[in-house]
Amino acid sequence: MNYTMLYFASLRDAAGCDSERIASGARDPRSLYGEIAARYRFTFVMEHLRVAVNGEFAPWDQALADGDEIAFLPPVSGG
């Protein structure tokens, strides 16, 4: 399936881009994170991240659809 990945903060620095199109066999954010984290050497464990799919927070086991836009969100530090 094809996904659009969005990267923010330290994950953007690690990925070296703010977004990209990828092809992946992963069917949920959990397995997708495994792939992406290995590729870019992300150091966050999943428990410290949140997931957004198509601009909304989503559970790690949400079924992904072709064309989904996915972001792994590090702990926030606004304010």
Binding site: L73, V76, G79
Partner: protein, 143 residues
């Protein structure tokens, strides 16, 4: 005017405050978060905020709606800066108007706490010495 918004330019508290005033509003509580010259013992030169704008605006709007449902307030506004900020600059502004001060204080505190913990905005600090760093606080970090 949106009750929660991101701003790429300097926040003007005077303009924002004026939106809260009406004759039924006895109490206005505001919170201003400004760029400090130190954090965790390190000298800070400035910082940048990066946001997941689409989700940040949706989550921010949700927080404002929660505040209006939980507390007896007449109005509430929150603006968060994104981009590069210098020392002393306004990073976030929250203003709440209510008939009584209990609700105004509680709602203002609720909004800033929730914004800091839930809205996808990240801070990158520039230090006097060493590399800039993204702040990714673990849960339960100091307020």
């Amino acid at each position: 005017m949106k009750v929660f918004s991101l701003s790429e330019t300097a926040i003007d508290p005077v303009v924002l405050s004026s939106q809260l005033e009406n004759f039924g509003t006895g109490a206005i509580v505001t919170f201003e978060g400004r760029v400090r010259d130190h954090n965790d013992g390190r000298a800070v030169r400035g910082l940048a905020y990066q946001a997941y704008a689409e989700l940040a605006e949706a989550e921010g709007a949700k927080i404002m709606k929660e505040a209006r449902a939980r507390f007896e307030i007449s109005c509430a506004v929150c603006v968060h800066r994104v981009g590069e900020l210098v020392l002393g600059e306004l990073a976030v502004w929250v203003g709440v108007g209510a008939a009584h001060r209990d609700a105004a204080f509680a709602a203002c505190r609720y909004i800033i706490d929730e914004v800091k913990s839930r809205v996808p905005i990240w801070k990158r600090e520039h230090y006097s010495e060493g590399q800039p760093e993204w702040l990714h606080p673990a849960k339960g970090s100091a307020r």
